[in-house]
Symmetry: C2
Subunit: 208 residues, 2 copies
């Protein structure tokens, strides 16, 4: 009779991710997850073994999704700075399309509590990092870029985006500003991309 054939397993994952993002892992109870997902509490352990199992599953799915998004920038026709700009664009777009999750990931990284997850996050991030690293290092070697502290430049690029995501009102001091508002988000996104493109261009390619 009931045609509402919804996947409880998926419902749990979605509810849990939402709650983990909003109130943190420790701050979310299994009962909240059950209520929000419409599933019975026992289903959480039935499908995922434990509360931490839910968390790990969410991370695995997300990280797998990110990895598949990783497009290798290997067209030899474009210059190093152009490669870097494309990576910046992709990075900013991806992070701003997953603000809540990015915040949670960052929180988890700064907590360093669950070692298994810490390593997973680190691995996921290092893919991106190595991509940028190679582009800049190649640019330096072929003379297109100035000699800079590559890792610090990467920290700058990633740190800028994270800072914007976590404290957007620091960038937009007006009170009625909301990253959940698509219009506001678009504005921030373009400002971030333009800024990072401009910054890297000037810093990496200006002849002293």
């Amino acid at each position: 009779m009931k045609t509402e054939k919804i996947d409880k397993r998926q419902a749990i994952l979605e509810a849990a991710e939402k709650l983990f993002c909003e109130t943190g892992y420790e701050g979310t109870s299994t009962r909240q997850i059950a209520r929000e997902s419409g599933a019975n509490m026992a289903m959480i352990n039935y499908y995922f073994g434990s509360k931490e199992g839910v968390f790990i599953e969410i991370m695995n799915e997300r990280i797998a999704g990110f990895a598949s998004q990783l497009k290798i920038i290997n067209e030899d026709k474009i210059s190093p700075i152009e490669k870097l700009h494309r990576v910046i664009e992709g990075y900013v777009n991806r992070i701003l399309a997953n603000v809540a999750f990015h915040k949670m990931m960052h929180r988890e990284l700064s907590l360093s509590q669950r070692p298994e997850m810490y390593d997973k996050i680190k691995d996921a991030m290092s893919h991106n990092m190595l991509l940028i690293d190679r582009i800049i290092t190649d640019g330096i070697e072929d003379g297109s870029f100035n000699k800079v502290d590559v890792r610090m430049v990467i920290a700058t690029i990633m740190g800028t985006v994270t800072n914007i995501v976590i404290a957007p009102n620091k960038v937009m001091p007006c009170s009625n500003f909301d990253l959940n508002n698509p219009k506001d988000k678009k504005i921030i996104k373009e400002r971030a991309i333009n800024h990072l493109k401009d910054l890297t261009t000037v810093y990496l390619t200006t002849k002293k």
Copy 2:
């Protein structure tokens, strides 16, 4: 007999801050705080009313300490870029002298759970932000600096430092690296300061 006249109140604050930094607010129990501080559990409520009261007290003390550290850079003799460099130096030094607390503050900001604290952190941060904002804006107005997206530049400076603090192994890929090691910390600190000085100098003062 026991001459060890230690201030239990202070012991609780110190133990709580350590634990909050290590395992998060929700992840820390009042019993842990009591055990770590050597105080009875009831003392927590006796002195601070509640667990959240402890947290708020820690934040208030810290933020007050930060505010008093804020030295106004107002010597007219030095150039805008020199002012900015001094602020960067002070900022990096302060953050790296309080890594654990900075991580906790950042976590709390990204969680946006306790509204009272969220506002306190925002206020504390905006002091720093306004200081940098004024320096850069003045520099632009008197022609020393290029016209840039000021708020984005600030996000870059602060975001870079935060990124280094939260994920130092991204900057130092060697495995046996530890921010708690004073030697390693010093290395990172100087690299960060040099990078940010160089970056801002090139980006803000290079004539296009």
